[in-house]
Protein backbone atom coordinates (compact mmCIF):
# COMPACT_ATOMS: atom_id res chain seq x y z
CA UNK A 1 0.00 0.00 0.00
CA UNK A 2 1.23 3.44 -0.87
CA UNK A 3 1.99 5.59 2.14
CA UNK A 4 -0.78 8.13 2.61
CA UNK A 5 -0.15 11.81 2.99
CA UNK A 6 -1.08 11.72 6.64
CA UNK A 7 1.43 8.93 7.26
CA UNK A 8 4.35 10.94 5.94
CA UNK A 9 6.80 11.92 8.67
CA UNK A 10 7.08 15.45 9.99
CA UNK A 11 10.78 15.93 9.32
CA UNK A 12 11.54 18.83 6.96
CA UNK A 13 14.93 18.83 5.24
CA UNK A 14 14.06 21.73 2.94
CA UNK A 15 13.99 24.94 4.90
CA UNK A 16 11.41 27.63 4.27
CA UNK A 17 12.56 30.73 2.49
CA UNK A 18 14.96 29.16 0.01
CA UNK A 19 15.70 30.68 -3.38
CA UNK A 20 13.51 28.52 -5.64
CA UNK A 21 10.71 30.01 -7.73
CA UNK A 22 7.27 29.87 -6.28
CA UNK A 23 5.66 26.52 -7.10
CA UNK A 24 9.00 24.90 -7.85
CA UNK A 25 8.60 21.19 -8.53
CA UNK A 26 12.22 20.41 -7.68
CA UNK A 27 11.82 21.84 -4.21
CA UNK A 28 8.46 20.15 -3.82
CA UNK A 29 10.02 16.80 -4.68
CA UNK A 30 13.04 17.37 -2.47
CA UNK A 31 10.79 17.94 0.53
CA UNK A 32 9.26 14.49 0.08
CA UNK A 33 12.66 12.93 -0.55
CA UNK A 34 13.83 14.50 2.70
CA UNK A 35 11.04 12.84 4.59
CA UNK A 36 12.14 9.48 3.27
CA UNK A 37 15.89 9.92 3.64
CA UNK A 38 15.91 11.68 6.98
CA UNK A 39 18.85 13.74 8.09
CA UNK A 40 21.54 11.05 8.03
CA UNK A 41 22.48 11.60 4.40
CA UNK A 42 25.02 13.45 2.29
CA UNK A 43 23.84 15.38 -0.73
CA UNK A 44 25.68 16.12 -3.98
CA UNK A 45 24.47 18.80 -6.38
CA UNK A 46 25.48 19.75 -9.88
CA UNK A 47 24.80 23.25 -11.26
CA UNK A 48 21.04 23.59 -11.63
CA UNK A 49 18.02 25.33 -10.26
CA UNK A 50 18.44 23.42 -7.03
CA UNK A 51 21.85 25.01 -6.59
CA UNK A 52 20.55 28.48 -7.40
CA UNK A 53 17.80 27.79 -4.85
CA UNK A 54 19.92 26.44 -2.02
CA UNK A 55 21.05 29.82 -0.75
CA UNK A 56 24.25 31.76 -1.20
CA UNK A 57 27.34 31.37 0.96
CA UNK A 58 27.15 31.29 3.98
CA UNK A 59 23.45 30.36 3.98
CA UNK A 60 22.05 26.94 3.18
CA UNK A 61 18.40 26.22 2.55
CA UNK A 62 18.67 22.43 2.93
CA UNK A 63 19.32 20.60 6.14
CA UNK A 64 21.95 18.15 4.89
CA UNK A 65 25.70 18.23 4.51
CA UNK A 66 25.88 19.03 0.82
CA UNK A 67 28.58 19.44 -1.77
CA UNK A 68 28.45 21.42 -4.96
CA UNK A 69 30.45 19.66 -7.65
CA UNK A 70 31.41 20.17 -11.27
CA UNK A 71 28.60 19.64 -13.71
CA UNK A 72 29.79 16.42 -15.31
CA UNK A 73 30.66 14.61 -12.11
CA UNK A 74 27.68 13.52 -10.04
CA UNK A 75 28.27 9.82 -10.56
CA UNK A 76 31.98 9.88 -9.89
CA UNK A 77 31.76 12.35 -7.03
CA UNK A 78 29.11 10.16 -5.46
CA UNK A 79 31.47 7.20 -5.76
CA UNK A 80 34.23 9.19 -4.11
CA UNK A 81 32.05 9.92 -1.10
CA UNK A 82 30.57 6.44 -0.91
CA UNK A 83 34.00 4.82 -0.86
CA UNK A 84 35.41 7.40 1.54
CA UNK A 85 32.62 6.71 4.02
CA UNK A 86 33.00 2.96 3.72
CA UNK A 87 36.74 2.91 4.27
CA UNK A 88 36.59 5.42 7.11
CA UNK A 89 33.98 3.21 8.72
CA UNK A 90 36.15 0.13 8.21
CA UNK A 91 39.08 1.92 9.74
CA UNK A 92 36.97 3.02 12.69
CA UNK A 93 37.18 6.71 11.94
CA UNK A 94 33.40 6.94 11.49
CA UNK A 95 30.89 5.35 13.81
CA UNK A 96 27.16 4.74 13.74
CA UNK A 97 24.66 4.18 10.98
CA UNK A 98 26.33 4.95 7.64
CA UNK A 99 24.79 8.00 5.94
CA UNK A 100 22.95 7.63 2.65
CA UNK A 101 24.86 9.24 -0.22
CA UNK A 102 22.55 10.84 -2.76
CA UNK A 103 22.99 12.91 -5.89
CA UNK A 104 20.34 15.51 -6.61
CA UNK A 105 20.72 16.37 -10.25
CA UNK A 106 18.68 17.97 -13.03
CA UNK A 107 17.97 16.31 -16.33
CA UNK A 108 20.85 18.24 -17.91
CA UNK A 109 23.24 16.81 -15.35
CA UNK A 110 21.82 13.33 -15.85
CA UNK A 111 20.89 12.82 -19.51
CA UNK A 112 23.63 14.97 -20.99
CA UNK A 113 26.81 16.20 -19.34
CA UNK A 114 26.61 13.80 -16.40
CA UNK A 115 25.59 10.62 -18.17
CA UNK A 116 29.04 9.13 -18.47
CA UNK A 117 29.98 9.43 -14.83
CA UNK A 118 26.56 8.06 -13.89
CA UNK A 119 26.85 5.14 -16.28
CA UNK A 120 30.29 4.27 -14.93
CA UNK A 121 29.12 4.47 -11.33
CA UNK A 122 26.28 2.14 -12.31
CA UNK A 123 28.71 -0.30 -13.87
CA UNK A 124 30.70 -0.27 -10.64
CA UNK A 125 27.42 -0.45 -8.71
CA UNK A 126 28.72 2.05 -6.17
CA UNK A 127 26.52 2.69 -3.17
CA UNK A 128 24.35 5.79 -3.65
CA UNK A 129 20.93 6.99 -4.72
CA UNK A 130 21.03 9.05 -7.89
CA UNK A 131 18.00 11.32 -8.21
CA UNK A 132 17.25 13.02 -11.47
CA UNK A 133 14.63 15.72 -11.09
CA UNK A 134 13.55 16.11 -14.64
CA UNK A 135 12.10 19.44 -15.70
CA UNK A 136 12.87 18.53 -19.30
CA UNK A 137 15.26 21.42 -19.97
CA UNK A 138 18.16 23.43 -18.63
CA UNK A 139 15.98 25.69 -16.54
CA UNK A 140 18.66 27.39 -14.55
CA UNK A 141 20.36 28.90 -17.59
CA UNK A 142 17.04 30.05 -19.00
CA UNK A 143 15.47 26.97 -20.60
CA UNK A 144 17.60 25.34 -23.27
CA UNK A 145 17.04 21.87 -24.71
CA UNK A 146 18.35 18.80 -22.96
CA UNK A 147 18.29 15.11 -23.84
CA UNK A 148 15.10 14.98 -21.76
CA UNK A 149 13.28 17.68 -23.72
CA UNK A 150 10.41 15.98 -25.53
CA UNK A 151 9.90 16.20 -29.26
CA UNK A 152 8.13 19.35 -30.35
CA UNK A 153 8.98 21.36 -27.25
CA UNK A 154 10.20 24.93 -27.64
CA UNK A 155 13.34 25.93 -25.80
CA UNK A 156 15.69 28.81 -26.54
CA UNK A 157 17.99 26.42 -28.44
CA UNK A 158 15.11 24.70 -30.23
CA UNK A 159 13.23 27.81 -31.35
CA UNK A 160 11.12 25.82 -33.79
CA UNK A 161 10.44 22.96 -31.40
CA UNK A 162 12.83 20.08 -30.74
CA UNK A 163 13.09 17.62 -33.59
CA UNK A 164 14.40 14.57 -31.76
CA UNK A 165 12.48 12.52 -29.22
CA UNK A 166 13.87 12.41 -25.70
CA UNK A 167 16.13 9.69 -24.36
CA UNK A 168 14.45 7.11 -22.18
CA UNK A 169 16.86 7.51 -19.33
CA UNK A 170 15.15 5.34 -16.75
CA UNK A 171 15.14 2.47 -19.24
CA UNK A 172 18.81 3.04 -20.02
CA UNK A 173 19.61 2.87 -16.33
CA UNK A 174 17.52 -0.28 -16.02
CA UNK A 175 19.61 -1.85 -18.77
CA UNK A 176 22.68 -1.09 -16.70
CA UNK A 177 21.42 -3.91 -14.44
CA UNK A 178 21.47 -1.87 -11.28
CA UNK A 179 19.51 -3.12 -8.28
CA UNK A 180 16.80 -0.46 -8.27
CA UNK A 181 15.31 1.97 -10.76
CA UNK A 182 12.14 3.99 -10.30
CA UNK A 183 10.21 6.86 -11.80
CA UNK A 184 8.02 9.25 -9.85
CA UNK A 185 6.51 12.71 -10.02
CA UNK A 186 5.41 15.40 -7.61
CA UNK A 187 1.67 14.79 -7.87
CA UNK A 188 2.14 11.39 -6.19
CA UNK A 189 4.10 12.10 -3.02
CA UNK A 190 3.31 8.81 -1.29
CA UNK A 191 4.56 6.88 -4.27
CA UNK A 192 7.76 8.93 -4.35
CA UNK A 193 8.23 8.54 -0.62
CA UNK A 194 7.89 4.77 -0.74
CA UNK A 195 10.36 4.48 -3.58
CA UNK A 196 12.98 6.49 -1.75
CA UNK A 197 12.48 4.48 1.41
CA UNK A 198 12.96 1.30 -0.57
CA UNK A 199 16.02 2.61 -2.41
CA UNK A 200 17.60 3.60 0.87
CA UNK A 201 17.47 0.00 2.06
CA UNK A 202 19.24 -1.46 -0.98
CA UNK A 203 23.03 -1.45 -1.36
CA UNK A 204 24.51 -0.41 -4.70
CA UNK A 205 23.42 2.17 -7.20
CA UNK A 206 19.77 3.19 -7.18
CA UNK A 207 18.33 5.52 -9.80
CA UNK A 208 15.13 7.48 -9.20
CA UNK A 209 13.84 9.93 -11.75
CA UNK A 210 11.20 12.48 -10.80
CA UNK A 211 9.26 14.34 -13.44
CA UNK A 212 9.26 17.98 -12.33
CA UNK A 213 6.95 20.24 -14.36
CA UNK A 214 8.42 23.72 -14.22
CA UNK A 215 6.15 26.66 -14.97
CA UNK A 216 9.02 28.74 -16.31
CA UNK A 217 10.25 26.24 -18.86
CA UNK A 218 6.96 24.61 -19.70
CA UNK A 219 5.13 27.89 -19.69
CA UNK A 220 2.07 27.18 -17.63
CA UNK A 221 0.68 29.14 -14.70
CA UNK A 222 2.64 28.96 -11.47
CA UNK A 223 -0.04 27.29 -9.33
CA UNK A 224 -0.41 24.42 -11.78
CA UNK A 225 2.76 22.47 -10.98
CA UNK A 226 0.96 19.53 -9.42
CA UNK A 227 -1.76 19.58 -12.02
CA UNK A 228 0.73 19.33 -14.86
CA UNK A 229 2.45 16.49 -13.07
CA UNK A 230 -0.86 14.67 -12.75
CA UNK A 231 -1.77 15.30 -16.38
CA UNK A 232 1.57 13.95 -17.51
CA UNK A 233 0.82 10.68 -15.77
CA UNK A 234 -2.80 10.50 -16.84
CA UNK A 235 -1.91 11.07 -20.48
CA UNK A 236 0.76 8.40 -20.31
CA UNK A 237 3.44 10.96 -21.15
CA UNK A 238 5.01 9.89 -17.86
CA UNK A 239 4.82 6.35 -16.54
CA UNK A 240 5.22 5.47 -12.91
CA UNK A 241 7.17 2.28 -12.42
CA UNK A 242 9.92 0.70 -10.42
CA UNK A 243 12.27 -2.14 -11.08
CA UNK A 244 13.56 -4.14 -8.17
CA UNK A 245 16.53 -6.17 -9.32
CA UNK A 246 15.38 -5.83 -12.88
CA UNK A 247 11.77 -6.80 -12.25
CA UNK A 248 9.52 -3.99 -13.45
CA UNK A 249 6.20 -3.21 -11.82
CA UNK A 250 3.95 -0.29 -12.58
CA UNK A 251 2.38 1.95 -10.00
CA UNK A 252 -1.02 3.52 -9.90
CA UNK A 253 -2.37 5.14 -11.99
CA UNK A 254 0.13 4.10 -14.68
CA UNK A 255 -0.50 0.45 -13.92
CA UNK A 256 -4.10 0.92 -15.03
CA UNK A 257 -2.97 2.41 -18.31
CA UNK A 258 -0.45 -0.34 -18.88
CA UNK A 259 -2.91 -3.09 -18.08
CA UNK A 260 -5.43 -1.48 -20.36
CA UNK A 261 -7.92 -1.06 -17.51
CA UNK A 262 -7.92 2.63 -18.15
CA UNK A 263 -7.22 4.56 -21.30
CA UNK A 264 -4.54 7.18 -21.19
CA UNK A 265 -6.02 10.64 -21.60
CA UNK A 266 -5.32 12.03 -25.08
CA UNK A 267 -2.20 14.11 -25.06
CA UNK A 268 -3.80 17.24 -26.55
CA UNK A 269 -5.05 18.73 -23.35
CA UNK A 270 -1.70 18.19 -21.65
CA UNK A 271 0.11 19.88 -24.52
CA UNK A 272 -2.37 22.75 -24.82
CA UNK A 273 -1.73 23.77 -21.25
CA UNK A 274 1.94 24.31 -21.99
CA UNK A 275 3.28 27.37 -23.74
CA UNK A 276 6.36 25.43 -24.84
CA UNK A 277 4.23 23.55 -27.38
CA UNK A 278 2.30 26.65 -28.47
CA UNK A 279 4.14 27.31 -31.71
CA UNK A 280 3.77 23.70 -32.65
CA UNK A 281 0.07 23.65 -31.88
CA UNK A 282 -0.52 26.83 -33.83
CA UNK A 283 1.41 25.74 -36.91
CA UNK A 284 -0.30 24.57 -40.09
CA UNK A 285 0.76 20.97 -39.42
CA UNK A 286 -0.43 20.97 -35.83
CA UNK A 287 -2.47 17.79 -36.16
CA UNK A 288 0.41 15.89 -37.60
CA UNK A 289 2.80 17.02 -34.93
CA UNK A 290 0.36 16.19 -32.15
CA UNK A 291 -0.02 12.79 -33.72
CA UNK A 292 3.75 12.43 -33.72
CA UNK A 293 3.92 13.16 -30.01
CA UNK A 294 0.97 10.90 -29.33
CA UNK A 295 2.84 8.28 -31.32
CA UNK A 296 5.93 8.67 -29.14
CA UNK A 297 3.80 8.18 -26.05
CA UNK A 298 1.86 5.22 -27.38
CA UNK A 299 5.06 3.51 -28.43
CA UNK A 300 6.57 4.09 -25.03
CA UNK A 301 3.54 2.62 -23.27
CA UNK A 302 3.49 -0.40 -25.54
CA UNK A 303 7.20 -0.86 -25.20
CA UNK A 304 7.26 -0.68 -21.43
CA UNK A 305 4.30 -3.04 -21.22
CA UNK A 306 6.29 -5.63 -23.16
CA UNK A 307 9.58 -4.89 -21.55
CA UNK A 308 8.08 -5.48 -18.13
CA UNK A 309 7.29 -9.02 -19.13
CA UNK A 310 10.98 -9.90 -19.39
CA UNK A 311 12.09 -11.21 -16.03
CA UNK A 312 14.32 -13.90 -14.65
Amino acid sequence: MTTSIKQLPDIEQVLSGNGACGGCPATMALRIVGKALGSNAIMLLTPSCSVASMGMTPKLGYNWPAINICFATAGSSGSGIAHALEIMQEKGRLQGEPPTVFCWVGDGGTYDIGFQALSAAAERNDNMIFFCYNNEAYSNTGVQRSGATPRGSFTTTTPAGKRQPKKNMALLMLEHNIPYVATATVAYPGDLYDKVVKAKSIPGLKYIEILAPCYLGWQFDMPETVQMSRMAVRSGAWLLWEADNGKISFNNPSSLIISGKKDAAPVDEYLMKQGRFKRLLKGPDADQRIAEIQGDIDREIAFMRERAKITF
Binding site: G19, A20, C21, G22, A52, M56, L216, D221, M222
Partner: protein
Protein backbone atom coordinates in the same frame (compact mmCIF):
# COMPACT_ATOMS: atom_id res chain seq x y z
CA UNK B 1 22.50 66.99 -22.41
CA UNK B 2 26.00 68.12 -21.52
CA UNK B 3 27.31 65.37 -19.31
CA UNK B 4 26.74 61.69 -18.78
CA UNK B 5 23.56 61.03 -16.87
CA UNK B 6 23.16 57.90 -14.76
CA UNK B 7 19.95 56.26 -13.65
CA UNK B 8 19.16 53.13 -11.67
CA UNK B 9 15.99 51.11 -11.73
CA UNK B 10 14.96 49.15 -8.65
CA UNK B 11 12.16 46.64 -9.03
CA UNK B 12 11.01 43.10 -8.46
CA UNK B 13 11.80 40.26 -10.85
CA UNK B 14 8.96 39.98 -13.35
CA UNK B 15 8.14 43.71 -13.38
CA UNK B 16 10.04 44.33 -16.58
CA UNK B 17 13.01 46.32 -15.33
CA UNK B 18 15.28 45.05 -18.12
CA UNK B 19 12.86 46.16 -20.80
CA UNK B 20 12.47 49.51 -19.14
CA UNK B 21 16.24 49.96 -19.09
CA UNK B 22 16.47 48.97 -22.75
CA UNK B 23 13.72 51.43 -23.70
CA UNK B 24 15.47 54.27 -21.92
CA UNK B 25 18.81 53.54 -23.55
CA UNK B 26 17.11 53.34 -26.92
CA UNK B 27 15.34 56.60 -26.31
CA UNK B 28 18.70 58.22 -25.65
CA UNK B 29 19.92 57.07 -29.05
CA UNK B 30 16.68 58.17 -30.69
CA UNK B 31 17.26 61.52 -29.02
CA UNK B 32 20.69 61.91 -30.59
CA UNK B 33 22.75 60.80 -27.63
CA UNK B 34 24.56 57.65 -26.66
CA UNK B 35 22.69 55.24 -24.43
CA UNK B 36 23.52 52.26 -22.31
CA UNK B 37 21.38 49.76 -20.40
CA UNK B 38 23.17 47.54 -17.93
CA UNK B 39 20.95 45.23 -15.91
CA UNK B 40 22.34 43.45 -12.93
CA UNK B 41 21.72 39.69 -13.15
CA UNK B 42 21.78 37.40 -10.19
CA UNK B 43 20.29 34.08 -9.23
CA UNK B 44 17.05 35.87 -8.39
CA UNK B 45 13.65 34.47 -9.24
CA UNK B 46 10.41 36.15 -10.17
CA UNK B 47 9.41 38.26 -7.22
CA UNK B 48 12.90 38.87 -5.81
CA UNK B 49 14.40 42.40 -5.87
CA UNK B 50 16.35 43.30 -9.03
CA UNK B 51 18.07 46.34 -10.47
CA UNK B 52 19.33 47.81 -13.72
CA UNK B 53 21.48 50.77 -14.68
CA UNK B 54 20.94 53.22 -17.54
CA UNK B 55 23.37 55.80 -18.86
CA UNK B 56 22.88 58.56 -21.39
CA UNK B 57 25.56 60.82 -22.71
CA UNK B 58 26.27 63.16 -25.62
CA UNK B 59 29.63 61.42 -26.10
CA UNK B 60 30.75 57.79 -26.13
CA UNK B 61 30.03 55.95 -22.90
CA UNK B 62 32.98 54.11 -21.42
CA UNK B 63 31.59 53.40 -17.98
CA UNK B 64 30.70 49.75 -17.39
CA UNK B 65 30.27 49.61 -13.64
CA UNK B 66 26.93 49.40 -11.92
CA UNK B 67 25.57 52.87 -11.09
CA UNK B 68 26.85 53.47 -7.60
CA UNK B 69 25.56 56.99 -7.15
CA UNK B 70 23.15 57.66 -10.00
CA UNK B 71 21.48 60.95 -10.76
CA UNK B 72 18.08 59.29 -10.94
CA UNK B 73 16.53 56.32 -9.20
CA UNK B 74 13.38 54.72 -10.58
CA UNK B 75 11.48 52.75 -7.95
CA UNK B 76 9.15 50.28 -9.65
CA UNK B 77 7.36 49.36 -6.46
CA UNK B 78 6.74 51.69 -3.58
CA UNK B 79 7.77 48.90 -1.19
CA UNK B 80 11.32 49.21 -2.43
CA UNK B 81 11.74 52.94 -1.91
CA UNK B 82 13.85 52.80 1.20
CA UNK B 83 16.06 49.98 0.00
CA UNK B 84 16.55 51.71 -3.33
CA UNK B 85 17.67 54.98 -1.82
CA UNK B 86 20.06 53.27 0.55
CA UNK B 87 21.72 51.54 -2.39
CA UNK B 88 23.04 54.95 -3.43
CA UNK B 89 22.08 58.15 -5.23
CA UNK B 90 23.83 61.48 -5.68
CA UNK B 91 23.03 64.09 -3.09
CA UNK B 92 21.20 66.14 -5.67
CA UNK B 93 19.58 63.13 -7.28
CA UNK B 94 15.95 62.62 -8.23
CA UNK B 95 13.67 59.70 -7.36
CA UNK B 96 10.79 58.51 -9.53
CA UNK B 97 8.36 56.27 -7.70
CA UNK B 98 5.56 54.09 -8.96
CA UNK B 99 2.82 54.46 -6.38
CA UNK B 100 -0.94 54.83 -6.44
CA UNK B 101 -0.75 58.04 -4.39
CA UNK B 102 1.66 60.86 -3.75
CA UNK B 103 4.77 59.72 -1.92
CA UNK B 104 8.01 61.57 -1.34
CA UNK B 105 11.51 60.86 -0.23
CA UNK B 106 12.52 63.56 2.18
CA UNK B 107 16.11 63.84 1.16
CA UNK B 108 15.60 63.98 -2.58
CA UNK B 109 13.46 65.51 -5.26
CA UNK B 110 10.65 62.99 -5.91
CA UNK B 111 8.30 62.34 -8.79
CA UNK B 112 5.38 59.96 -8.55
CA UNK B 113 3.34 58.12 -11.16
CA UNK B 114 0.56 55.53 -10.79
CA UNK B 115 1.89 53.12 -13.37
CA UNK B 116 -0.20 50.19 -12.14
CA UNK B 117 -3.46 51.94 -12.68
CA UNK B 118 -2.40 53.38 -16.03
CA UNK B 119 -1.27 49.98 -17.26
CA UNK B 120 -4.37 48.25 -16.02
CA UNK B 121 -6.64 50.86 -17.58
CA UNK B 122 -4.80 50.46 -20.87
CA UNK B 123 -5.36 46.73 -20.69
CA UNK B 124 -1.63 45.94 -20.36
CA UNK B 125 -2.07 42.97 -18.06
CA UNK B 126 -0.71 39.49 -17.59
CA UNK B 127 -1.43 36.75 -15.07
CA UNK B 128 1.11 38.29 -12.76
CA UNK B 129 -0.21 41.83 -12.89
CA UNK B 130 0.03 44.92 -15.06
CA UNK B 131 2.90 45.66 -17.44
CA UNK B 132 4.10 48.74 -15.65
CA UNK B 133 7.29 49.26 -17.57
CA UNK B 134 5.55 51.05 -20.45
CA UNK B 135 3.92 53.77 -18.34
CA UNK B 136 7.08 54.02 -16.26
CA UNK B 137 9.05 54.58 -19.43
CA UNK B 138 6.74 57.44 -20.31
CA UNK B 139 7.11 58.94 -16.87
CA UNK B 140 10.89 58.74 -16.83
CA UNK B 141 11.11 60.31 -20.29
CA UNK B 142 9.12 63.22 -18.99
CA UNK B 143 11.35 63.62 -15.95
CA UNK B 144 14.46 63.46 -18.13
CA UNK B 145 12.99 65.97 -20.57
CA UNK B 146 13.03 63.52 -23.44
CA UNK B 147 10.45 64.82 -25.95
CA UNK B 148 7.21 62.87 -26.16
CA UNK B 149 7.65 62.11 -29.85
CA UNK B 150 11.03 60.54 -29.16
CA UNK B 151 9.45 58.48 -26.47
CA UNK B 152 6.73 57.38 -28.87
CA UNK B 153 9.12 56.59 -31.64
CA UNK B 154 11.17 54.43 -29.30
CA UNK B 155 8.12 52.39 -28.38
CA UNK B 156 7.08 52.00 -31.99
CA UNK B 157 10.57 50.91 -32.97
CA UNK B 158 10.54 48.27 -30.28
CA UNK B 159 7.07 46.92 -30.93
CA UNK B 160 6.19 47.81 -34.49
CA UNK B 161 2.46 47.37 -35.02
CA UNK B 162 1.85 45.11 -32.08
CA UNK B 163 -0.27 46.84 -29.42
CA UNK B 164 0.91 50.22 -30.67
CA UNK B 165 -2.08 52.26 -29.62
CA UNK B 166 -2.35 50.83 -26.17
CA UNK B 167 1.34 51.22 -25.47
CA UNK B 168 1.50 54.78 -26.68
CA UNK B 169 -1.65 55.61 -24.77
CA UNK B 170 -0.32 54.26 -21.51
CA UNK B 171 3.11 55.80 -21.93
CA UNK B 172 1.60 59.12 -22.92
CA UNK B 173 -0.75 59.12 -20.00
CA UNK B 174 2.16 58.56 -17.64
CA UNK B 175 4.25 61.18 -19.45
CA UNK B 176 1.53 63.66 -18.71
CA UNK B 177 0.52 62.62 -15.22
CA UNK B 178 3.85 62.00 -13.55
CA UNK B 179 3.99 64.57 -10.82
CA UNK B 180 6.72 66.33 -8.99
CA UNK B 181 6.02 65.87 -5.30
CA UNK B 182 8.72 67.81 -3.50
CA UNK B 183 11.73 70.09 -3.99
Amino acid sequence: MNNMLELRINGFGGQGSVTLAHLLAQAALENGNQGQALPFFGVERRGAPVRAAVRMSPTAIHAHSQCERPDYVVVMSEKLTEAAISEGITDIGTVIINAPHAVAVKSHATWQVDADTIAREAGLISADGPFINIPLFGAVCRVLDIPQNIMEQTILNKWPGNNGERNLGAAGKAYNTVTRINK
